[in-house]
């Protein structure tokens, strides 16, 4: 063997400190799940929701949450969207795993009070309280973001926000600066072309989970061994029996309300039993890429996807750590490469090791999560199943359940408008996912162990109307809820805990 020129090209790849990449363990369900997204918080998708609106059953709501664990008091800049990130919502309507309708969101930042040390100020030094996003009452909004909405279909792209300024709603700084925050945020709901409504801004994170218990190797609070809930806890859709790690944290959201007719393949609405009623959705974040061959050469596009999210918990709880980044950055159409993670999930093997009855691999019972088949698509023939692709599938023909009647366990509890038929903010996806991995979709009688973490409801009060997520927690007055962390306001004496 010689040491030749060709060899030396390869050689630079290894052995140099520059190339020693560390891999970070997955951090949290839907939040920071892949090594790359753990390092790129602004592009990190925390949750993806798609459901038929209980407010307007002829429309679909899609919500893309990004930027996890926002501490509400974290001034002075709080939580702007990243102007260098392209945020997208994608819809496959002909069951081939490839997006047919895409909504793109691009943000711009405006510094309006360059001499002031904080982005938001009100009721101070002659500056009025912030009560508006523009004009009178907006003087204290020193850091403001606008955004555009573009719809892309096979026939081209159309800016939906053509003639109006869309402002992102800032986080809730506190009662002096923003005394009427709920009203302020209502001003951030805009109606665009064809009745499409949008909202972008900071909200209370709707997700709920006992992260600490789950990631401490399933060291749950209410059961010594497997994460099995008692009948009483399992039956309580109103209270939590373990700390919700997301309580008190904000998140950035982009929400859109779209007529179903703008999403289906034929521009019509369809009944539950018709294949065309079912769409597959996912959200993505992308950054500008450096093209291998140089700008304008080769086939590489301008954008490199940083993350995608279809079904919750797929990447964090199913995909192996050595594949998580590729999964995040690849397209659903290429998901066959990850099929083994779904057909024989490690989480299922772990549950089995804890004594929970779990079906044997290959786990074809999990295929409804990644293909167009019953029960989500009862009208789909085998030829409609499409490729294995992680899409959040939504049967737009299934009527929405009004919030008061929604069940946290969604579809598997008979509330067919919940995950895995789309996903609503109220759906207890960890418990549903654990049970799905446990085999409940295969046979509820045989594999219906009541698995869960004991966190059954969101800590933020979800709203009955668009954009459905609760207003951001107040920077001055909010508390977190962790083990032993009651927060000052919750102490009977009003005296803060010593630690």
């Amino acid at each position: 063997m010689k040491v030749r020129q060709t060899l030396l090209r390869a050689a630079l790849a290894i052995g140099t400190a520059t190339f020693a990449f560390s891999t970070h363990p997955a951090m949290a369900a839907s939040h920071r799940e892949a090594p790359i997204t753990a390092l790129d918080q602004k592009a990190d998708i925390t949750d993806w929701f798609a459901f038929v609106s209980p407010e307007h059953p002829d429309r679909v709501i899609m919500i893309l949450n990004v930027d996890p664990f926002l501490e509400p008091s974290n001034g002075p800049n709080y939580f702007p969207f990243d102007p260098n990130v392209l945020y997208e919502m994608k819809v496959d309507n002909n069951h081939d795993g490839v997006p047919d309708v895409t909504f793109q969101f691009r943000f711009k930042t405006e510094i309006r009070n360059p001499g002031v040390f904080t982005g938001f100020v009100g009721n101070l030094a002659g500056i009025p309280a912030i009560t508006a996003l523009d004009g009178v009452g907006s003087e204290g909004l020193g850091l403001r973001q606008t955004y555009s909405v573009t719809m892309v279909t096979k026939s081209g792209s159309q800016v939906l926000s053509d003639d109006q300024n869309l402002f992102a709603v800032p986080s809730n700084v506190g009662p002096r600066t923003m005394p009427q925050y709920a009203q302020l945020r209502q001003k951030g709901i805009y109606t665009l072309y064809n009745g499409v409504r949008v909202f972008a801004g900071t909200v209370a994170d709707p997700f709920f989970i006992d992260l600490g218990g789950f990631f401490d190797s399933l060291n749950m609070r209410k059961s010594a061994t497997a994460p099995v809930l008692s009948a009483a806890i399992d039956g309580d859709d109103k209270n939590n029996y373990a700390p919700n790690a997301l309580a008190g944290f904000n998140v950035n959201t982009i929400a859109i309300e779209v007529p179903i007719t703008m999403l289906t393949s034929d521009g019509a609405t369809h009944a539950v039993g018709e294949a065309a009623a079912v769409i597959g959705t996912y959200g993505t974040t992308s950054r500008r890429r450096q093209s291998v061959l140089g700008e304008g050469r080769g086939e590489a596009g301008t954008w490199a996807q940083v993350q995608r999210l279809g079904n919750p918990l797929i990447n964090e709880a199913i995909i192996g750590t050595g594949s998580k980044d590729r999964f995040s950055m690849d397209d659903p159409i290429n998901d066959k490469q990850f099929a083994n993670f779904v057909l024989n999930p490690l989480a299922g093997q772990i549950l089995a090791s804890l004594g929970v009855p779990v079906p044997a691999a290959p786990r074809v019972d999990l295929l409804p999560l990644v293909q167009y088949i019953a029960p989500i698509c009862p009208g789909c023939k085998p030829s409609d199943a499409g490729p294995i692709a992680d899409l959040l599938r939504l049967n737009t023909g299934i009527q929405p359940t009004q919030p008061a009647f929604q069940k946290r366990l969604g579809f598997i509890a008979g509330d067919q408008a919940g995950w895995p038929n789309g996903r609503r903010p109220n759906d207890d996806v960890l418990d549903i996912a654990l049970r799905a991995v446990g085999g409940i979709l295969a046979d509820p009688a045989k594999y219906g162990t009541p698995l869960g973490d004991g966190v059954n409801v969101s800590s933020s009060a979800l709203q009955p109307t668009f954009p459905f997520l609760a207003p951001a927690y107040s920077g001055r007055d909010s508390v977190h809820q962790g083990p032993g962390q009651a927060g000052c306001a919750l102490q009977p004496s009003g005296i803060c805990p010593a630690n």
């Binding site: 040491v3 060709t6 190339f19 891999t23 790359i36 140089g294 050595g322 594949s323 980044d325």
Partner: protein
């Protein structure tokens, strides 16, 4: 006074014996292996350190050591992932490109987030001539870790092959910016590549600057010696080129290095020396012509340009093109076909190379000559421009 001199002597001695990055890596890994002889990752580190030292010195003995060390790693933990990566690297070194591609593809399926495996996919595909697959793998490198040096270097070579020399220099500069100053050999390698690119772009002064910088960063670096020789040839300083290439051949006595020396000797008017070198080259090259790790490109050009033996050239070229269809193999094959009088077939092959976008002057010269023979003057002029 005496103490001072003694101190200075020690200082200079220490400087002249300063370990190279690979030598330091070998020391470190050897110490780790001694401490824990049943730990496979330490053997992997040592194997890789030997492979790096092979690049630094061009001494093939280090490859044997790398392979032997890797065997120990696999004896402890069969088919361990890091070990298989080094195996791929060694396959590339042996020019077993198809095998390397197979191993790298398997590794990529096991851990699709591993950046260096994409690097091997790029390298194997480039050498085989699968440029689209190479670009795809390189794009994954840049997407997964924007700005990573290994990805930038691959992008640089692919840009060069596709004719984007400015863009290639740009990413090579970025790679250098993110390479630590203590990584002397890596930096010298990058400077050598930039010298090569500047020479392709026609800026001899800049090429000279980069080549001499490489030699100052890593003295007597064999790749940089050869690159500076190319600069000297461009400057018509043929005797200086001969000196540099003789030094390089002494350090790295491979057939293709002897061929470069022989050609320089011919240019310098050293007819007798050139004849001896060419003859020795033919023997050395023929001895390895059936191995994957061969000097068949040079052998083909030798038969066409210096020995006037088109049949032998074509025979070697056909064998080589059956293994790979990269632009340089296509070029050599085309040149052999032209020498045997089949200009039409030669043109078909060289057009495939040109379609990639390569702007190597030798390839362009061959393309122009072939086109002239086919009396397609516009093409000839275009290629020559």
């Amino acid at each position: 006074m005496k103490t001072t001199i003694a101190f200075l002597t020690i200082l200079f001695a220490a400087q002249s014996y300063a370990a190279t990055p690979a030598e330091m890596a070998i020391q470190q890994a050897t110490a780790n292996v001694a401490k824990q002889p049943d730990h496979a990752p330490y053997y992997n580190s040592l194997a890789m350190a030997y492979a790096r030292r092979a690049r630094e010195t061009s001494d093939v003995a280090y490859y044997a050591k790398a392979e032997e060390t890797l065997t120990k790693s696999f004896a402890i933990t069969p088919d361990n992932f890091e070990g298989l990566k080094i195996k791929t690297w060694l396959q590339l070194g042996r020019h077993e490109f198809a095998n390397a591609l197979e191993t790298a593809t398997k590794l990529n399926k096991i851990s699709p987030d591993d950046l260096s495996v994409y690097g091997y996919l790029v390298d194997a595909n480039v050498e085989l001539g699968n440029y689209d697959a190479a670009v795809t793998a390189a794009q994954w490198m840049l997407d997964l870790r924007p700005g990573n040096t290994a990805g930038l270097v691959r992008a640089g070579y692919l840009r060069e092959l596709h004719g984007n020399l400015t863009g290639a220099l740009e990413v090579m500069q970025m790679a250098d910016d993110s390479t630590g100053l203590s990584q002397t050999e890596d930096r010298a390698w990058l400077f050598t590549q930039m010298a090569h690119l500047e020479l392709l772009a026609g800026d001899v002064a800049k090429a000279e600057n980069y080549a001499t910088t490489a030699l100052s960063v890593f003295p007597d670096y064999h790749y940089a010696l050869a690159q500076l020789a190319q600069v000297r040839i461009a400057q018509t300083r043929y005797a200086d080129a001969v000196t540099l290439l003789a030094k390089r051949y002494a350090a790295a006595p491979h057939a293709e290095n002897l061929y470069a020396l022989a050609e320089a000797q011919a240019l310098a008017g050293q007819k007798e020396e050139a004849a001896v070198s060419f003859q020795k080259f033919e023997g050395q090259s023929l001895a390895e012509t059936n191995l994957t790790d061969n000097s068949n490109h040079e052998l083909i050009f030798y038969y066409v340009d210096h020995a006037g033996n088109a049949d032998r050239a074509l025979e070697v070229a056909r064998r080589e093109v059956a293994r790979r269809h990269d632009v340089f193999t296509l070029d050599a094959y085309a040149w052999a076909l032209a020498a045997s009088g089949d200009y039409k077939a030669a043109d078909a092959q060289i057009q495939k190379a040109l379609a990639v976008g390569v702007r190597d002057p030798k390839v362009l010269f061959h393309a122009g000559s072939i086109a002239m023979h086919l009396a397609e003057m516009p093409t000839a002029l275009r290629a020559r421009n």
